[in-house]
Symmetry: C2
Amino acid sequence: MEPQARPRRVTIVDVARHAEVSTTAVSKVLRNAYGASPEMRAKVRRAIDELGYRPNAGARSLRGQTYTIGVMLPDIRNPFFPEILDGVTASLADTEYQVLLGPGFNGEKEEARVTEAMIDRGMDGIILVAPISSRAHMERVGTAVPTVVIGRHGSSPAYDTVVDDDVEGAALVVGHLAALGHRRIAHIEHHETDPTRLTEMPNARRADGYRLAMRKHGLEEWIDVVSTSYTQEGGHRGTKELLARPVRPTAVFAGADIVAMGVLDAVTEAGLSVPGDLSVAGYDNTTFAAFGPISLTSVDQGGREMGENAVRLLLERIADRGRRSAQVTLSPTLVPRRSTARPAK
Amino acid sequence: MEPQARPRRVTIVDVARHAEVSTTAVSKVLRNAYGASPEMRAKVRRAIDELGYRPNAGARSLRGQTYTIGVMLPDIRNPFFPEILDGVTASLADTEYQVLLGPGFNGEKEEARVTEAMIDRGMDGIILVAPISSRAHMERVGTAVPTVVIGRHGSSPAYDTVVDDDVEGAALVVGHLAALGHRRIAHIEHHETDPTRLTEMPNARRADGYRLAMRKHGLEEWIDVVSTSYTQEGGHRGTKELLARPVRPTAVFAGADIVAMGVLDAVTEAGLSVPGDLSVAGYDNTTFAAFGPISLTSVDQGGREMGENAVRLLLERIADRGRRSAQVTLSPTLVPRRSTARPAK
DNA sequence: ACATCTTTGGGGAACGTTACCCACATCGCT
DNA sequence: AGCGATGTGGGTAACGTTCCCCAAAGATGT
């Protein structure tokens, strides 16, 4: 009753022997390569099925391909990212590619660790979702392996990008609130100082869009931006600050749904009601926003489409590494819900 | 201006040449293996840093190790799983291991695809989080590679398990509600027919625990189980059914927080209030439950501890593949919040 | 008839790493 | 002086694929 030696995994050599052909022939069949007659294909495929052969990815990686796409997610708690992932996996469902996720944990060091790990593992392509990494790091990644960056403005020859028009999205929110009759519309943003990130990060563009739209609606004097962070805690803190103003805003545009959660939290705590005392709008149109008891007005970026576009660009670039880099910008739409209403008189 | 050939990646051979030692020596240093003097170690490490060398995982995989742990998540939307993942990654942060996630999409076929892919890629260990796969499949995985299954009762020699005591968890909820004075306590469960799964799946055990606890509190006549699914939609459907009863329950024990979300949705829709008209309790103690405006009473399984234990078991088994399989059961705790209160008179 | 092309099949050298060897030097002990 | 033990370093054969070759046979054109 000793621990019997686990059976060695079946390799291409076993298949070749069983089908009475060369390993080269098996490899050709596996890759649908030129130089194999229909009869041989059939024979080899039968042997593969009979033996239950599966190619060893490590060995393949040594030769250049792993059929693996890595997706870096900075925060698995953010309910927006699953939408993107749906688009990615759906687009790859019928291909040989397998999607593996790497957790980034909202840190530059952590993002670097996981992207390096993906490169070490010979991934065929990498999708960076809303990375906080420096531009230099993303270019390093893009130079090593085909890369698409989702949610980062600005172009680079080293990688392709997919973003939504954040300025437009902010304008949709401000327009909606203004149309309802709000004038004192405040905004909670994610604090940013790094000059490159100020032009590239969606949070910065949304703040810009907010200011621009306020001016356009003649509400310049009511521009009120609180600078915290894109977390629930940031929304909570920002709201407490806003509620302490001598003249309170009647509406808050939170830069992300996760921030809006913090807003609602703080409003509940203060004994106020939404939208009675305060209208609240978010950004991302997460499942949380759609949730009945919350019913948060939000901006839909079309996460699915983002994922689909990222895959398209990535496959193109895997096929032709020399092609020029491309940028795709999607238009956001507004989804009004019960958290926004006319201001109290 | 032709597309300059990307520089070849630096290999162990380059390091050896640069340090003027053999590749064997470099390999020894990399693995902290026996047979390298301190001077040599220093020399090699310097060369590694100077060249920015990183080991190729594919080549390593061919020799047996990839320093990669695969975690299969059946549903990236379920807010409970990030807790587990935190425990996993925290335990592995100081090791050489890299965690990669595979999306399972709540499907048996999809789970099989991703687990096979992980095996093909030579992962050193696999953690299956709340899998719906058949026992046979999990044993196949466990035979191929060290495996820990989280959230599945029943033991197998092929893999280790980490679960919480779901019967106990259900008892905590019923006990809490009974102590508040509730008698008509209903339960929404996830429908299950497969006999093996009936003994292994947490949802089935929670339903058992509910029935058991109701009897223990002398509430046998009020046992009322609605069989839908562990989704928001399932909670919604189940609640509509319960609200249509001639004698309505005063409290609902939802088998999971995600189900409780559906309950709250339906209650809002019906114009009723929580906990005024209906007390609601969930299971998993997700961030959603802790969210202020919701404030859902829930059972905490200690997701972090689950992840930590899974890693411990996994590393043990990687070190000694022959050791007996182990089962860890954690005790759940109740987290009372505002969604449960004394029933209206 | 011959030359040339196309199709079909296989031999074998990589890819980067590890780990089993062996070789040699040095040391401590009888 | 002789011996085994210990420490240090390297040579080299795998691991499982892919893909560049070449060879042979058959098809086609003159």
